[in-house]
Amino acid sequence: MSEKYISRSKSVAARTLGGEMMIMSAKDSTLFSLSEVATLIWEAADGHTPLSEIVERRICAEFDVRSDVAYRDAEQLVEELATRGILSISSRPVPDAQGPAVEAP
């Protein structure tokens, strides 16, 4: 399995409102609301933590799910988020990945 690294897009705005992560794309002004799992992945998308580690530490530790199933679902999710321009996926760590802050107000 080749490792995947995900980073938050620099062209989106993000804010947590009442525990729900809202994302708006600057490219087409589309507003998204992320699920709890998608939010955990989004928050951890720092460009240098492998997706497998994110799944293990953030998803499997939080939810009662087998790691292979969680990883498969996470892969599908990040592909979808990447298609919408919210995340980018790389096969190598992205050193200058920043994206918007994710601290919840």
């Binding site: 804010r15 409102l17 729900e20 600057a26 002004s29 107000p105």
Partner: protein, 368 residues
């Protein structure tokens, strides 16, 4: 219900200021004839103060941030402020005349992920636009800037303020926007000056003229729907809020004064003297604004337009009563539908249209 409506409803339930409008300066490199601002610097917030305010906004839950002025790009730290805002996750909209935007600035705005740039364009004819801005060559520079911004894929809205001097040019600006790939908005609202001077109101086009714009499908879309008679007003409508100002949105001036909206000069506090969230949560002025429902409006609650009028509580406040009607919006409702408003009937026999305008005055600095 759209996700945006859900977001607004949630912010309202939670008491979160979802949108904030921050004017970075009132200084400007144009001198537009209708402008309501005093262009002198009376002690603008410093870069550090603005960055601190942005953190307070983020902590309070502000998501949509409009940066404007004056001309915001006249501040040397404007890009530093935008960069800081973007790093804090705000959706940033910039309102500018674009005179200071060249290719390099357009590239930077794109790289920073600014969601939208709104630019004032008064005419497609230089002799008209430049006469309004009082800056020769300003239309040419602004249009060049729009091309730079569009070439970077930035979303641009051309805001066309309607006045007597440019009333024949709306189609031209609309067509220009189409050619440049920009959105187009038309706004017939002229606001009294900050010091209460109403002389700029002479620039307003007559209500009868606005009618032709409201019945132009290229400007309003479906005319039949836009100009339809108002729907019946029921108890649910009367329990509604007059506007989002002070409920989910607010305005902060370059001097740190907090208002419900840029068009609602009711001072609610100053971020140099209090934390933003304290003002947002505890200001008696905001509490009063939030307590008002449509049923509480002295004249408008009995108006057939109550459920569909674009009544601006700030303009009503400037006329002397935040619970009263706004003359400009009464006129708009009337010319849109041909049906007289309760405000118009109440004003019959009144010697002046806009008596006792309230003034915006910066809060004096604290003396230690």
């Amino acid at each position: 219900m759209s996700l945006m409506q859900e977001l607004n409803d949630k912010a309202l339930r939670l008491g979160v200021p979802l949108s904030a409008h921050l004017d970075l300066t009132y200084r400007c490199n144009e001198r537009c004839e209708h402008c309501y601002l005093d262009h002198d610097d009376h002690g603008e917030m410093t870069t550090a103060e603005i960055k601190d305010l942005l953190r307070q906004f983020a902590d309070a839950g502000v998501f949509f941030l409009t940066l404007s002025g004056g001309e915001p790009l006249i501040r040397r730290d404007c890009f530093e402020i935008i960069e800081d805002a973007r790093s804090l996750g705000f959706n940033v909209k910039l309102k500018t005349n674009a005179m200071l935007i060249r290719e390099k600035e357009a590239l930077r705005l794109r790289a920073l992920g600014v969601e939208q740039v709104q630019i004032s364009v008064y005419s497609d004819r230089p002799e008209v636009h430049d006469a309004i801005t009082k800056v020769p060559g300003s239309l040419e520079r602004t249009v060049k800037a729009i091309r730079f911004l569009r070439s970077q894929g930035l979303r641009v809205t051309m805001a066309n303020v309607l006045m007597r001097s440019n009333r024949g040019d709306t189609e031209g600006v609309h067509d220009l926007a189409g050619k440049l790939g920009a959105h187009y908005t038309l706004d017939p609202t002229i606001t009294p000056m900050m010091d209460g001077n109403t002389s700029v109101l002479r620039l307003r086009v007559d209500a009868s003229e606005i009618s032709s714009y409201f019945h132009n499908p290229s400007l309003v879309g479906d005319v039949e729907s836009f100009c339809a008679p108002p729907a019946a007003v029921d108890a649910q409508v009367l329990e509604g809020l007059p506007c989002s100002a002070g409920h989910t949105s607010c305005y902060v001036s370059p001097y740190g004064d907090v208002y419900p909206c840029v068009q609602f000069p009711l001072t609610c506090g100053n971020v140099r003297q209090q934390k933003f969230l304290e003002i947002w949560r505890d200001s008696p002025q905001l509490a009063e604004v939030r307590s008002i429902r449509l049923k509480d409006l002295t004249t408008c609650s009995s108006c057939t337009h109550a459920g569909s009028c674009t009544r601006c509580p700030g303009l009503a406040y400037m006329e002397g009563n935040m619970r009263g009607p706004s003359t400009a919006d009464c006129e708009k409702s009337f010319v849109r539908t041909g049906i007289t408003t309760a405000g118009m009937l109440a004003r019959k026999g009144s010697p002046t249209l806009m008596p006792g305008l309230v003034q915006i005055n910066p809060t004096p600095p604290l003396t230690v």
